[in-house]
Amino acid sequence: MHGTNVIGILFAYVHEERIRSLTENRVMASVPFGGRYRLVDFALSNMVNSGINQVGVVTEENYQSLMDHLGSGKAWDLSRKTKGLSLLPPFGAKISRTEGKVESLSTIKRFLHAATEEYVLLSDCDIVANIDYRELYDFHTKNDADITVVYRHGNSPDTDKNTVFTIDPSNVVREIYLKRGCHFDCNYGMGMYLIAKEKLIELVDDCMSRNLYDFDRDIIQRGVKDMKICAYEFTGAAYPITSFEAYFNASMALMDPKVRSQLFVPSRPVYTKVRDDMPTRYGLGSVIQNSFVADGCVVEGEVENCVLFRGVKVKKGARLKNCVIMQDTIVGENSRLDFVVADKNVEFTDNATIMGHTTYPVYIVKGSKV
């Protein structure tokens, strides 16, 4: 399998400022999503399902929940004698990673050097998608590219911070615009790059010696004239988590069978930590409609348009609509929730009423009692 010629690097922390509420006590990579997953599960499973069997996860701070989630990498089949999963936290106090991706990459040079693979696939953990990177690899080698960027064509996500490409008919990138808010059809980057390892190290060293730290600006944009940067279009379902609203909308998109069939492909499953919950039990008189429900829930109330994570309890008479309820949260009797995103271990007491709005879902902090 040619995938073994590629090493994966995941940036666990990138863009977490975009959903501050969910990332206050965790990194972007460990933000819960889709009933039983963390965002990192999508990025990591994509790599594993493409035959990549060595992955480094670059972290900055707040990575305890991520360590707990990833463990030895067993759930992704990355607990191996050779290769496998490596967590790459900041090494010693002298190294900071505050400046940007380039600096982060320079701190893991030893890890990159030690790898025998020729190519590196860089990815953030802020996109929910199921991507087969083998096609990307074929595209990259066939085009003899220095760097291949993965992009999507369409209305850009609701942020003013996209990296936008102008691409010629032979798929070569001609122009790059940074921090662009484009509310028309455009080619926006997905934060995934395939590049030869030696080339990456060379570029990183060059940037470091010039005090340049921004990967998109100082490597991609600066190199567009001298290097062959190709663009690979991903056309499947993809949900960049660019804001709290985007998170909520991506969760609701899971009710669409077309979206589910593109995200949860039987031949490329999304792996996650096993929790050994019992299957979900629906009680007498429960009403459940248009909802996406993980194992371990007990539903005795009414649930409509909701994502329920593992171990959620919905008591009798409770009515939930348009909610995302995370792991082990308890919704008390006769409570009413509408447009609510409840983090893990929240307790809604009996008769609690909380209403958000379609454009402004309410967020309830982890472990709170309402």
Binding site: G34, G35, R36, K74, L254, M255, P257, R260, L263, F264, P269, V270, Y271, T272, V274, D276, D277, M278, P279, T280, R281, Y282, G283, L284, G285, S286, V287, I288, Q289, N290, S291, F292, V293, A294, D295, V307, L308
Partner: protein
Amino acid sequence: MLPKQEVVAMLLAGGQGSRLGVLTKNQAKPAVPFGGKYRIIDFPLSNCVNSGIEAVGVLTQYQPLELNEYIGSGQPWDLDSMHAGVHVLPPYQKNKRSDWYKGTANAIFQNMRFIERYNPDYVVVLSGDHIYKMDYSKMISYHKEKEADCTIAVYEVPMAEASRFGILNTNEDGTIYEFDEKPKVPKSNLASMGIYVFSWQKLKKYLTEDDKMPKSQHDFGKNVLPAMLNDGEKMFAYRFSGYWKDVGTIDSLWESNMDWLDKNVTSDLIQDANKIYSRSEVLPPHYISASASVQNSIIAEGCNVYGKVDFSVVSSGVYIAAGAVVADSIIMPGAVIEENARVQYAIIGENAVVGKNAVVGKRPEDMEDKDNWGVAVVGPNYRLAPETVVAPKAMLDADEEEE
């Protein structure tokens, strides 16, 4: 020499389980799916781990493929440790002779070398056909406290049903004075659960002697235990209360799955932090559509439900189409119930397909002659043609499928 293990568990998983018919035609009984995401063997295996038993031998013989694959390295049950863990023990060829396992006792006898490697003090013998959660360490403590040679777990069954079980008659101090296999007139209601704790040296002696007896059936219940009792060894009954159910027949398998819907039963089985572990498929959460209606049911991950589900257990990866009705039934992993099909009082086997408008099973109250009523079974991988009607009590086998 491996580090000593005080207790080694031996799980008898080699029987055919022929009373489950088509469900055990191509796989051993302990591998039969249960409760939405489990297989029967998950219960004794998880009990072992949760009781602190680290060395487990699983004796296989009949159709072991699925079971071997399922157990694998033992990792899902945390039984993949360096010096112990779970080991699958099929019959094997020996220097002078090679034998199938001739009986439950013979299966253990043939694997004495496996047990000896751990130099244990006690051996727990378990079977793979019951649904229950039990802390074996408490039973072992009882065995030690009584300085017993053999302790047998017993369950109080209703006196009226006692004649269906192997009954133990005990003295007041808990010692056993008589085994009564399916007695016509039972003297007690203590049914043997098929869970035995032996002091290893004693068991070893009796297994070796039993092997030399030409007329023995090499069975624990018929030969070894009576021999020990005859010799006046110290044999105690250990009372267990809590949920316990045999799943050896279609009816009891169905009933036990239905018990699973009872809040009191499930909370009994999940009351403490010790979970029932299983090797689960990697599947997304289940989706219940706006057209669906689900009540008093268990639904596992990976399902897509567009129809109506009442009083049923729906296992991993099942698809229930719009207009389909599933009531009082067990749908095993990967099965598909197509549009407007009706499934009631039925078991649909793994990866079976129930075609459009087909009707499987009948409610007992709709039967004219109640004696003909029973749970209908559609075997694993069976493709039931649209519009077909399957009578109650019927059992469909994919190998005999009509073209």
